[in-house]
């Protein structure tokens, strides 16, 4: 087990020393600044005309969801971009040879690296998420309904994306891995929208297509569940946007995401274990 923690530690350090993480953090801070300014302008506009507090609260909550959705997108993309190289790159450069010949089983290397990234991604999500919530509270006074459930679901979503880049990294080179992982994220995004449309459309085919896309890559449905948990109850029933939900991913959908994570990680471990390095 010692091997897992050693690998997790070095992977965490490595991820933290990558420039992309800091770029993503700076991007997060910039977005927060834009978000704060936009919120402030909205608040000033509300104050200039006597707005009903109820409507005002709904709009401000909606804007908070926009901020959180941006956080979510940034976190998923950052997860994919920082992790595509960790297995694929070390296998192609031969760096892995000096590690895989140590008294550490291959699954431990895989698990250790995954844990290292889990720590890094979790820290990133908590940082940007709480930043967004803090800014919204400071400017408008609104808070999300269930912030802990929300942040947990976003972390879960990132771990799904991470498991996919790990699995693909045991098989493909860095670039192919990145293209495939981002492509799958695109499929998930499309699936989310199709399921949203299904709330209005009568076409059963669109519903099926949306569900199939969400099954192929269930990341976006986790965001939609997170949004559902965080938005005001009324917002959910009123709006049609990715930040509020017409079709809410059910408990089985969450369970499916859990099974998806376990299966992808198991196949990745198996594949890493059997391949020649």
């Amino acid at each position: 087990m010692n091997g897992i923690w050693t690998m997790a530690g070095v992977t965490f350090k490595e991820a933290a020393r990558r420039r992309i993480l800091w770029t993503a953090l700076i991007a997060g801070v910039l977005l927060l600044a834009i978000f704060a300014v936009a919120l402030r302008l909205q608040v000033l506009e509300f104050e200039s005309r006597a707005m009903s507090p109820f409507v005002r609260y709904q709009v401000e909550s909606g804007m908070l969801m926009v901020g959180l959705y941006t956080c979510d997108l940034l976190a998923v993309v950052m997860t994919i971009l920082t992790s595509i190289d960790t297995l694929a790159g070390e296998i192609s450069s031969g760096t892995i040879q000096a590690i895989a010949t140590k008294p550490v089983a291959r699954w431990q290397i895989f698990a250790g690296k995954f844990l290292g990234f889990t720590g890094m991604v979790t820290a990133y999500v908590i940082l940007t998420f709480s930043g967004t919530v803090a800014v919204a509270y400071w400017v408008t006074g609104v808070v999300p309904e269930h912030p802990v459930r929300g942040v947990a679901l976003i972390v879960f979503e990132c771990l799904l994306a991470l498991s996919v880049t790990f699995l693909l990294g045991t098989r493909f080179g860095t670039l192919t891995n990145g293209v495939l992982a981002l492509g799958l994220q695109g499929v998930a995004f499309m699936g989310g929208w199709l399921e949203q449309v299904s709330g209005f459309s009568q076409s059963a085919h669109i519903v099926t297509l949306g569900i199939v896309s969400s099954l192929i890559m269930p990341t976006e449905s986790l965001w939609r569940r997170a949004a559902y948990e965080m938005q005001t109850p009324l917002a959910g029933s009123l709006s049609f946007s990715p930040f509020a939900n017409v079709s809410i991913p059910s408990a089985p959908a969450l369970a499916y995401a859990g099974v998806f994570l376990v299966i992808v990680l198991s196949v990745g471990t198996w594949q890493f274990n059997r391949r020649d390095l």
Partner: protein, 308 residues
């Protein structure tokens, strides 16, 4: 085949095929403990694949192999194995000390042991002045020194070195040679893959030659000072009969422009050869037996380079 305890490495008919391409076939090796063992062969002979199989990086498609008595792929036995890959690369954002600590920890070394061993092994490879520098920007030779330190940090019983001196200057090579001998004297076995035959010649106790994935010859270099001697004699009046008469001792004799050259299998026959030549009426001015250089042996065994 029982797991043999008396050999550091034993393989029987080890084979690796990548699809229809066979990289290693019928590799049967016996590497005695406590020796420096040279593994020679031309490019593409399957040397690296063989080493990777012994280290569990590549899965064999046939045959058996035991390393320190354990079947290849065993994780625990790797605690006692060190490896310097041919092109050693590692996280270049670590310092020399951090890198060695990481490798030591992966080998299960305790913090106390690391504190004692890491500076010692950095000193051994001559990098004490750079111990807190990051690897980024290090030359190939320096990386090779760190790679060697990484392979030895946990005091393994068996060390695999893939081209350990290719990026080193003559002083670095000398250092590696001394380190390898010290490792052997400590009781460790060193498995050395190198193209530098002159290095192998002065360092190794035993060598095998592999070609197209098979062992084609094996030599004990410690015993070689006794056999395989090449004699160059400066002589006059050497008759054809005298040359033919060398046949009991040598089949490769020829006489050309005052120089008689032949090889013998043992030093002990030299007085008889000398007597035969003198008796045949030859005048001998110089008679110099010397070891057949490994390079010549290599060329003879491998045959002409027909391209890869």
């Amino acid at each position: 085949m029982n797991a043999p305890a008396d050999y550091a490495i034993e393989t029987r008919n080890l084979e690796k095929a990548f699809g229809s391409k066979v990289a290693v076939r019928n590799l049967s090796l016996q590497v005695p403990r406590g020796t420096i063992f040279g593994f020679l062969g031309p490019n593409g002979a399957g040397k690296s694949t063989s080493i990777k199989m012994l280290l569990g990086l590549v899965k064999p498609t046939g045959g058996q192999a035991y390393v320190l008595g354990a079947p290849v792929g065993d994780v625990e036995v790797r605690r006692r194995i060190g490896f310097l890959p041919e092109d050693f690369r590692f996280y270049d954002w670590l310092t020399v000390t951090e890198l060695l600590q990481l490798h030591g920890r992966l080998c299960g070394m305790t913090a106390a042991k690391l504190r004692e061993r890491v500076p010692a092994v950095i000193e051994l490879v001559g990098l004490t002045a750079h111990s807190d520098r990051r690897l980024r920007g290090f030359s190939k030779g320096m990386l090779q020194r760190i790679g060697l330190a990484q392979a030895l940090v946990h005091e393994p019983d068996l060390v695999f070195l893939d081209e350990p001196t290719s990026g080193l200057d003559p002083m670095g090579r000398r250092m590696v040679r001394d380190i390898l001998r010290a490792e052997r004297d400590r009781g460790a076995t060193v498995f050395l893959n190198s193209h530098l035959l002159s290095e192998i010649e002065v360092t190794c106790d035993q060598v095998v030659f592999i070609k197209e994935g098979e062992v084609v010859a094996s030599h004990d270099l410690r015993a070689r000072s006794e056999d395989d001697l090449r004699v160059v004699a400066h002589a006059r009046n050497v008759s054809d009969e005298a040359v033919l008469g060398l046949e009991p001792w040598s089949t490769s004799a020829h006489f050309e422009s005052g120089q008689l050259t032949f090889t013998v299998r043992s030093r002990s026959v030299l007085p008889d050869v000398m007597r035969h030549l003198v008796a045949s009426g030859a005048d001998i001015f110089a008679f110099t037996p010397e070891r057949v250089p490994l390079e010549e042996l290599f060329m003879k065994i491998m045959g002409e380079d027909r391209g890869l």
